[in-house]
């Protein structure tokens, strides 16, 4: 069972939230950001090449032109492979743990798994970020010594930064799964 809804990110870009329920205690929530637009790519490339042509006209050195081509190619590859995140997904498995996956535009996927024993709660927190106050979803990790304490905060959906309405949907879905571990405590 999958459903997709459109939302906006904190900066106003359109994002889509896809919810899939694999079983009663397993849910996958994926936030997909906008794809790389052709117009921004051509604008950036034209700007770099015009600047290089201007430098070539000033200095009469043709190395500037080939350097500009090289730089724009390498820059595009680095951007697609390390910076542009297409989709961030959260897979919550009731008794096992939470898996966070980021898929980059080049196809690279980076995954983190947090086992359920370490997860204290999944909450929506507000914090100051770059002269704005934003809501963001985060996983609170349990402090092994102190049952009430939080040892670490893992922020989620860092690059797509959904707004509060999308976060509330994700929060409700996660809480439905997390509540089950309180009602059925089988393992220590």
């Amino acid at each position: 069972m999958a459903e997709e809804r459109r939302f906006r990110s904190a900066c106003g870009a359109p994002i889509a939230l896809r919810r899939r329920q694999h079983s009663a205690s397993c849910r996958e929530l994926a936030v997909r950001g906008p794809r790389l637009q052709l117009r921004s790519l051509s604008a950036a490339t034209s700007a770099v090449w015009l600047a290089a042509y201007g430098l070539f006209a000033l200095s009469e050195n043709s190395v500037v032109l080939s350097a500009a081509i090289f730089i724009s190619l390498i820059g595009l590859i680095i951007y697609l492979h390390f910076i542009k995140i297409d989709q961030e997904s959260l897979l919550v498995i009731g008794s096992l743990g939470i898996q966070v996956t980021s898929s980059y535009a080049s196809g690279k996927e980076s995954t983190t798994f947090i086992e359920m024993g370490q997860v204290k709660d999944v909450v929506i927190n507000e914090a100051i970020h770059m002269q704005k106050v934003i809501y963001y979803l985060c996983i609170l990790l349990q402090d092994p010594e102190d049952p009430q304490g939080v040892s670490e905060v893992v922020p989620l959906f860092q690059s797509s930064k959904p707004r509060l309405d999308c976060l509330i949907e994700v929060y409700k879905s996660c809480q439905e799964i997390l509540e089950q571990r309180k009602t059925a405590p089988q393992s220590s």
């Binding site: 709660d121 909450v123 914090a127 009430q148 939080v150 905060v153």
Partner: protein, 126 residues
Amino acid sequence: ENSPAPLPERAIYGFALFLGSWFGFILYLIWAYIPETWLFSLGLTYWPQKYWAVALPVYLLVAVGIGYILLFGINMMSTAPLNSTHTITDNYAKKQQQKTFQEEAIPALRDIPISEVNRMFFLPEK
């Protein structure tokens, strides 16, 4: 005894500062504008270089301008990052004692854990 009201001593301090600042300003103008030879002929030879008459105000203005940017940067550096526990709790909240619940009394002020706040805000009670 610590009121901000005007007092005779404060009036005297203010007037002394007023005269002192006017004296300093006139001295600065004399040093900056009157040629060195005239000052030497009067016998006043031990002055700093006139270069500083222009350099010090420029230093001051540049420092004020940089101070704006520096303060902005210091603010950004002291803001807790999104993955720090300081956005959720602090030492006072960790060490707070649980006060006993009394009937018909306003509950004591305490720091409510973020999980509880989230449940109250975002999970509707059916």
